[in-house]
């Protein structure tokens, strides 16, 4: 006979304000099997947990139900408490009377009644719970970082410094990411390259870090502690081990008209190229869509001039497969396409540019060697108008509903830098709100206004049109309740940012959850902000949500700390809630193995006693508990019900159904 204890939490007023917790505890007392029922302000507190522990000991409880917040919140807490006094942690069930009850219902009688039903349901389940013991699985002491931007670089360096092997998989020919394209960084205005490139070099020189540039992940198998990842090493047509980065090929290549994507297509580059001077690895790559040799078979000039014989037109994509204990996703972002915003004339006017393009125009290594000129005629612009929130905070369907977070700060930076370098330039900024939370951020923005005289106009631009070679920017000045038209030479759009689209594929491969905006979902917004709900997968940088460099670096280091915490363990406890076949019922029909996504089910021939001294050899299913993730797909496929799931057995769910249906 089970001896069940029930603990109803007030959660301060979170539950107690709408659920009559005393009544719940009182009513539940008379449930069959319940020997103890109590309510308390904060069950998760030290005192609350002590109360549970004491009750378990005092009343010799065989199972407990905690009516509190979501099990996703404190199930682990209460399980630990139970375990500390010798009750198997899997004899704990949570009735979610906060998120699923008190927080969504207003009527006390109704909420109380529902809470009672939810607690009864949990009691019905716990009565059928069986003690479970977690198994163990080994941990591969190597981490994978997907994406070689500042987030990936920082995470890799931190993990490697702790003594673990790290591979960085970067889809481009060089690591560095978006930060490598930036000119200066806010709020300190240091040069982006000056702070980034040393870190890139550190990565390259670190004995524990292996940079797999120009590579993408193809397939992921396994689970936390033991991922097996197939990586595609795209053909770069240059032998990475031989190329010295001398750039003679770039000089000699006759096909020089390729758009330079590193410079946001503002100028051109040869078919064989090194993306930028400080690229890591400092190895050339051939754009097969542009290379004459690869397209027509005729040319081969770079091969002739290459002193080390690094050019290999025959190179093919290769695949490597490696094992990892943990994976950091740091796939970064891109500015959104502005095709849907014809009011700003981005596609029609060369002198309407995005902020990232402006970064390149202002960068000393950029297409204009750092001299700010208009793309159309190379003239120095005298009036520059910035437009903020282009596609951000847009619920009309053209843009993104969220705030891109970085635009207010970088626009202030651009305005300031322009006014500093070219004091004769007039700078206007149309804004909806200026958002500058962050250390020294608002001070930075105010400097742009007060010290540099940047003209901030509260209001949005309705249209940008061309008149006599001038860009007319027509918008609101809401403070003065005016409509203004500013004759500008250059218009800079603060385009919204979105996650790099390839993250969708990565998320699918990793079975990491992803939201409607393609941002990867963290396990808990506040308490587990760098972890994906998929165990062993961690999130750094904009793939998780819009953020600036300081935040990205912090998040990357946080990821590294989590990864290190995982990799130092030799073994991981596995989820004991796994599928288990009843061999006496199993037909050996193979249907369960057909639906198992993890290949956890195999078949063995086993001898069974038939009685009367006779035996029979039958084919029966066998589940590898280290591989099984406990989804239960097999249990429904099994026609005889031989396959069941520990912790969520058919009988348990059936009795929950029964209890929950009783009004």
């Amino acid at each position: 006979m089970q001896r069940i204890g029930v603990f109803i939490c007030w959660c301060g007023s979170n539950i107690a304000a709408t659920v009559d917790v005393e009544k719940v505890a009182e009513v539940i007392k008379s449930e069959p099997g319940v020997v103890y029922s109590v309510n308390y302000q904060y069950m998760c507190s030290e005192n609350g947990q002590q109360l549970i522990k004491n009750a378990i000991k005092e009343h010799n409880l065989t199972g407990i139900v905690v009516g509190a917040c979501s099990p996703r919140m404190h199930e682990a807490t209460f399980r630990k408490a139970a375990e500390s006094v010798g009750l198997n942690p899997y004899m704990v069930e949570i009735a979610n009377i906060r998120e699923h009850c008190s927080w969504i219902h207003k009527d006390m009688a109704e909420a109380t009644e529902k809470a009672i039903i939810l607690v009864r349901t949990a009691i019905a389940k716990v009565k059928l719970n069986a003690p479970l013991t977690a198994g163990e699985s080994p941990v591969v002491k190597r981490a994978l970082v997907i994406g070689g931007g500042i987030a990936g670089i920082q995470a890799a360096l931190d993990i490697a410094d702790a003594g673990f092997e790290v591979d960085i998989v970067e889809k481009n020919a060089t690591i560095g990411g978006r930060m490598a394209q930036l000119d200066k960084t806010f709020p300190t205005l240091d040069c982006s390259a000056c702070i980034l490139t040393p870190k890139m070099v550190d990565c390259a020189q670190h004995e524990k870090i292996d940079i797999l540039s120009y590579s993408e992940i193809e397939d992921v198998k396994g689970f936390v502690g033991n991922f097996s990842v197939k990586i595609r090493r795209k053909a770069r047509y240059v032998d990475e081990t031989k190329c010295t980065g001398c750039k003679i090929c770039m000089e000699k290549c006759p096909s020089k008209k390729g758009l330079n994507d590193f410079n946001m297509n503002l100028n051109t580059r040869p078919a064989i190229h090194i993306p930028f001077a400080q690229a890591i690895p400092n190895v050339a790559v051939i754009d097969p869509a542009q290379c004459i040799k690869l397209k027509t078979g005729k040319c081969g000039i770079c091969q002739k001039f290459c002193g080390v014989g690094a050019i290999d037109y025959e190179q093919k994509d290769t695949f490597i497969e490696r094992q990892y204990g943990a994976i950091v996703v740091a796939t970064g972002f891109k500015p959104i396409s502005l095709d849907a915003f014809n009011e700003y004339g981005y596609t029609e006017n060369k002198d309407v540019i995005t902020s990232l393009e402006l970064e390149r125009l202002m960068n000393a290594a950029g297409p204009s060697n750092g001299v700010l000129v208009r793309p159309s005629d190379g003239q120095h612009p005298k009036v520059i108008t910035f437009i903020q929130c282009v596609g951000s905070r847009d619920t009309s369907g053209c843009g993104k509903p969220y705030c891109s977070k970085i635009c207010c700060m970088y626009t202030a930076k651009h305005a300031m830098l322009i006014r500093e370098k070219y004091p004769d330039t007039e700078v206007h900024v149309f804004y909806i709100d200026v958002r500058t939370p962050g250390k020294n951020y608002d001070e930075f923005f105010r400097r742009a206004v007060e010290q540099y005289g940047v003209d901030y106009i509260k209001g949005m631009v309705g249209k940008v049109y061309n008149e006599n070679g001038k860009l007319m920017v027509q918008g609101s000045n809401l403070i003065d309740n005016e409509q203004v038209t500013i004759e500008s030479d250059l218009v800079v759009l603060a385009a919204a940012i979105e996650p790099e689209p390839s993250v969708r594929k990565v998320a699918t491969l990793l079975t990491a959850s992803i939201d409607t905006n393609n941002f990867l979902t963290e396990s808990h917004a506040k308490l587990r902000p760098v972890e994906s709900p998929t165990a062993g997968v961690y999130l750094a940088g904009v793939c998780q949500g819009p953020k600036d460099i300081p935040e990205t670096v912090s998040q990357a280091s946080a990821c590294a700390a989590k990864v290190i915490g995982l990799l130092v363990k030799d073994k991981l406890k596995t989820n004991p809630c796994v599928a288990t076949p009843d061999e006496m019922m199993c037909n050996g029909c193979s249907q369960c193995a057909n639906v198992c996504a993890y290949g956890a089910i195999t078949y063995v021939d086993k001898e069974f006693r038939l009685g009367g001294g006779k035996t029979e050899v039958r084919r029966v299913a066998s589940v590898n508990p280290a591989v099984c993730q406990g989804c239960g797909a097999c249990t429904v496929t099994c026609p005889s019900g031989a396959m069941d799931l520990k912790g969520f057995s058919s009988k348990q769910i059936m009795s929950e159904v029964e209890a929950i249906c009783k009004m």
Binding site: R98, I104, T521, Y598, G632, A633, L645, C661
Partner: protein, 150 residues
């Protein structure tokens, strides 16, 4: 003797099976965002929508549920990679079959709700409760042999 039986407003009994990773978390988010839905929706947590056996759904009806809704991760986003793809096929066939047996097609439903869709969870539940209220009590999956007057 009771002469006048007051017509009580019908409040349906709704069972929602929610997968632990998306829909249950979505329900949690609905809760923490205080997005209300009727109290007669009660949730059973399952690891994945593919854990839901048709017999659980039928059991719920047997025990007096008026509507059963099954919620999982969006197809392609399943925490267990492919679980909800199987759910989708199973439930497509099961629902079609139940309807073939004369069970009202609105009575059972599948909805994909992600962990980020608290608002959607609440909206789905409100809608489902409304539809079931309109549909009325579940009589067909309980009283097959009940004859007139019995």
């Amino acid at each position: 003797m009771q002469n006048v039986t007051e017509k009580k407003e019908f409040t349906p009994n709704i069972v929602a099976f929610c997968c632990n990773w998306c829909s249950y978390a979505g329900a949690d988010l609905a809760g923490s965002s205080r997005l209300s839905y009727p109290a007669n929706v009660k949730i059973i947590r399952v690891p994945c929508s593919c854990r839901v056996n048709p017999s659980f759904i039928l059991k719920a009806y047997q025990q007096g549920a008026d509507g059963v809704i099954l919620c999982g991760c969006h197809p392609g986003d399943c925490h267990y990679v492919t679980g909800n793809y199987y759910t989708r096929r199973r439930m497509s066939l099961l629902f079609s079959f139940l309807n073939y047996m004369g069970i009202e097609k609105e009575r059972t439903r599948v909805e994909w709700v992600s962990a980020a869709e608290g608002a959607r969870f609440s909206a789905v539940m409100n809608d489902f409760v409304q539809k079931i209220t309109e549909l009325g009590e579940n009589k067909r999956l309980t009283d097959l042999r009940v004859k007139e007057g019995e």
